[in-house]
Symmetry: D3
Amino acid sequence: MRTVVVTDPPRADAGDAERLGGFGVATVHEALGRVGYLGPAFRPAWPGARTGGTAVTVLCWPGDNLMIHVAVEQCRPGDVLVVATSSPSSDGLFGELFATALAHRGVRGVVLGCGVRDVAELREMGFPAWSTAVSAQGSVKATPGAVNVPVVLGGQTVAPGDVVVADDDGVMVVPRADVPRALTAAQARVDKEDATRAAFRRGELGLDRYGLREQLPALGIEHVPYEAWREQRG
Amino acid sequence: MRTVVVTDPPRADAGDAERLGGFGVATVHEALGRVGYLGPAFRPAWPGARTGGTAVTVLCWPGDNLMIHVAVEQCRPGDVLVVATSSPSSDGLFGELFATALAHRGVRGVVLGCGVRDVAELREMGFPAWSTAVSAQGSVKATPGAVNVPVVLGGQTVAPGDVVVADDDGVMVVPRADVPRALTAAQARVDKEDATRAAFRRGELGLDRYGLREQLPALGIEHVPYEAWREQRG
Amino acid sequence: MRTVVVTDPPRADAGDAERLGGFGVATVHEALGRVGYLGPAFRPAWPGARTGGTAVTVLCWPGDNLMIHVAVEQCRPGDVLVVATSSPSSDGLFGELFATALAHRGVRGVVLGCGVRDVAELREMGFPAWSTAVSAQGSVKATPGAVNVPVVLGGQTVAPGDVVVADDDGVMVVPRADVPRALTAAQARVDKEDATRAAFRRGELGLDRYGLREQLPALGIEHVPYEAWREQRG
Amino acid sequence: MRTVVVTDPPRADAGDAERLGGFGVATVHEALGRVGYLGPAFRPAWPGARTGGTAVTVLCWPGDNLMIHVAVEQCRPGDVLVVATSSPSSDGLFGELFATALAHRGVRGVVLGCGVRDVAELREMGFPAWSTAVSAQGSVKATPGAVNVPVVLGGQTVAPGDVVVADDDGVMVVPRADVPRALTAAQARVDKEDATRAAFRRGELGLDRYGLREQLPALGIEHVPYEAWREQRG
Amino acid sequence: MRTVVVTDPPRADAGDAERLGGFGVATVHEALGRVGYLGPAFRPAWPGARTGGTAVTVLCWPGDNLMIHVAVEQCRPGDVLVVATSSPSSDGLFGELFATALAHRGVRGVVLGCGVRDVAELREMGFPAWSTAVSAQGSVKATPGAVNVPVVLGGQTVAPGDVVVADDDGVMVVPRADVPRALTAAQARVDKEDATRAAFRRGELGLDRYGLREQLPALGIEHVPYEAWREQRG
Amino acid sequence: MRTVVVTDPPRADAGDAERLGGFGVATVHEALGRVGYLGPAFRPAWPGARTGGTAVTVLCWPGDNLMIHVAVEQCRPGDVLVVATSSPSSDGLFGELFATALAHRGVRGVVLGCGVRDVAELREMGFPAWSTAVSAQGSVKATPGAVNVPVVLGGQTVAPGDVVVADDDGVMVVPRADVPRALTAAQARVDKEDATRAAFRRGELGLDRYGLREQLPALGIEHVPYEAWREQRG
């Protein structure tokens, strides 16, 4: 691995990132065509956390948080720190002191493909964190890695400057170039969902609203009364 | 798999289901002889959720929620929607819009052997949901399945009309025919536990209350003072 | 396995245990040189739980809580019950009735290398519990085991009388002989972290504070502006 | 759980079971409409094992193989022993001595939703075994369970007398009533696959053979030369 | 997700890919600086399989192998098919008929971030396959995806035309641009390892050969005779 | 963690260790009272491996094999190297070059609570290895640890000089002090199993041989003919 710290990568607009954060993960994920979600392994350290920011990426050796120290200096207001490890690890590479340093710099949260610790303190601070584990296991500062190179987390590539959106449903990435499209599509989806919600509250069915009912026969789906079905099964 | 929607299966009484929900999972599970629990993989989407209702069952293809749309129409007040997938999947087949449609129909909750999404919205709505994952991953509506056939979740068979009980401890199923026995046995257990709780608060020991102490010698359990034990170990 | 109940093992001081609980898992773990943590599989049954106490250890057969009944009698004020199973199990060996009996005896919490149940009731009681699963699955009382012998949980040996510290970050063990050192080192760490926190709030960087910046060249870490890096990658 | 040993359940024909075993899991699973597979957690104890037989089912308490001893007596030539546990367990409830006893009775193999041991000896004996774990962990004989009641393994219900088919791809169940249909459909599938295999060896594509090519445009799938695609991505 | 089939992407040289396959995964991974490994979840369907080829990538919907049918046509001699799914799935999307079709086209193997089936037949054919599961679970052909776009497997991005190396240790990717460097570095590593192996056979220690011994004091590593150590522990 | 290399710990007799290896894991585990097994996560790198030796223990930082280099020098003929990591890791800390160095010193195998690599080469060499993962992921040599201190693997404590027994069923530890008892008890168990095997081959049932049949009524186990059972179920 090249041990490099890339400085000043172009970022998506911090305001756009915040707006995407407001839409939330499920909406933006759907709006973009069901892409970018980091999967169910990433969970918030405390319920109700929600954020949208621009990625500063870090690649650490397992059990070693040296590169997070290196990365802090690269963070700006509106960023979200995104930490990957070079092989699977659950160690708690990030805790309350890092959160304090990042909060000072205006960073909006952290996403870790490993463990987080000081969960009670993060909750009190209101510093948003998502991770694949909660772990108090401490780390050394011995092995080099990289900052602001593309990293892979949960089957998705996160490039520096991409937008990271996260809430109770998990984490997703929006590539920087897709941000304008994401904003438009997310707003359109919200509008459509508002209409659908109103319809559902009136008792309309998705079966009818989405035109699914007429497709059922071609899919071989038949409705059978319970008694008839029991007889057929013998 | 037969692609069928069974209509109007007989259900357990909705009031009985509610009463079982009030007893809670651990109590009913014990009362029935330690059967019916779906195991520790099923977790509530938000803490404090609790329900009891009659099962409407759905079998979906992984990554495809077409059959949930088909199932909504089959739901009545007092039901709980129970969703299985034909092979392992963590995708979020169910979210807030479905919950809106179900709440309109008086459905009391959902149990998913896959993912749920819109967790923050479900918590705000107070719509109870249990699942094996939280995932924003969206789904298509392309592949047929079944509604109201028996499904297997967590090593238990759930038939349509069975009672589903769920709380912070997870989810269990009570076969429709066992509901009267479950009600009686759960009440008896609650009464017994009340007495035991009072005894424990007075300092009585389970060892004595359950008649275990006199069985210990036959089981080869001996009490040894610490110093003697250390010496024996060398 | 020898089926023995060791009585009256020497314990660490209950007040010292409480003080270590106050420091919290991450702090004590670091203070002792990053040892003793039971790993990310142990989670609190309800958020915000925190404790420090002296271990009464139990070794159970999977699916069998007989030995917990035997162990209750061995518990004193200031203890924490620590339950291991002889092979992997997620069954809920411990619930609200046990908690009632233990609370009566002044026990400060429970740590289970298996499942816990009655989570809602434990939260209401404020009885702290950590476990590797939440499960309503009930148990029998048929097979002997041991009380107050050393047990292994999460890759750590817990001996009776050791101090157990637990909070939202998980669980750790402090061997009885290490308690004085742990107290001193934890206080020193807290003092150091207070100073670091204040520095971070002023904008100082860990990179400078920990003397890491001057080590970067020897580690081969170079800073490269984004545009230069893009060109190098081609 | 009712502690019962059901004797002499009707079985599918042992010769039919053997024929289904000859077809193999993937073929029979597809032939029946993609149902009945116990999932990827069930692995053979040694590669190349293959069997088809009629199920004798056992429900054991975790860590306890009493009911396997009870079940041996219920086995006949052509049977396959199918063992579930009442909660998750990896313990090695079955080994070479049981295999010796079963082989004497003409039993064709064993399927365990827990652990198997004596793997080297089973391989030497040529006794087929599938399980969710290999584990030397021994068991007690203390807690009752059931024999020849329906059990659930890997999301499938196995009833006594059903056919179990197993090979390097895992394990599946064919309900007794479906055996005639399974035999016919499996043979039809083999014939069709023979023709397909011959076609593929000549270079024909599934895209054409299955009529998929003409569906691609409606699915929105377009072919784009690499250079054009690169330009579109920017 | 864009539903596109990218045709004729530039590939690394098929001969170079074969040479890298000959070096093996561990060697090439080390030679490149410990990058590119897909992790321990990818296992060979049969022991002893080994390959090196150029990637044709496929992105499938879970439970749906339509896009593998589309991808076959894009394969050339020297390729390795690389299949990802858009969300986690263990279904067996690939089996012996696909292998027959690919073998006809000179394809050297398959890597699947999901399940494989027909394991016995693949072993007999000698067709190399790596996957994250073995599963007979069948699939539909209903949902579009992509061919020859970059996919992420095991935390690594695989682009079409990259070299895939796989053996008993798992799977790795070598980006097309890195192939020349990989060949040189792998050969250098083999030469170095040959010398090291010879030295180790003579009894030389890595401690001396790698210059580690003199670093031990600075790392705080001290040698203590057993008896002294026991006394210190008390 | 104390960074120490303990030299020349007393070992169990190498010949005794070999004899225990000959008995095998399941036999010795049972003979000692069902203790000492490291659990199903430890698998042999190649089938048929079998060994018994005296433990040289190593504690490594995740992703770092420095201490294995340090440990080689401490190994003698008859030893088995036992490697733990200070937090969960699947990285391949051990491969063919280490095996070459150890084989030169008469070491009988390796047990790793992390990954192994060069599986094909180890199989060719016939060097026995057990691990919790196969992984080509390489390691650094930067962080200190310990040699010949007690380590915990799979819920068992392994002290230097203890006997490690391993075969296709996994790995177990026999504390040095228990070796004489283990030898006697294992031989007794083999004799007993020989007699049982002969009886089972004659058709005797465990139900009778172990005196279980007469216990069934007290356990509430009743035999019910299939037809009667069906009627009772309704």
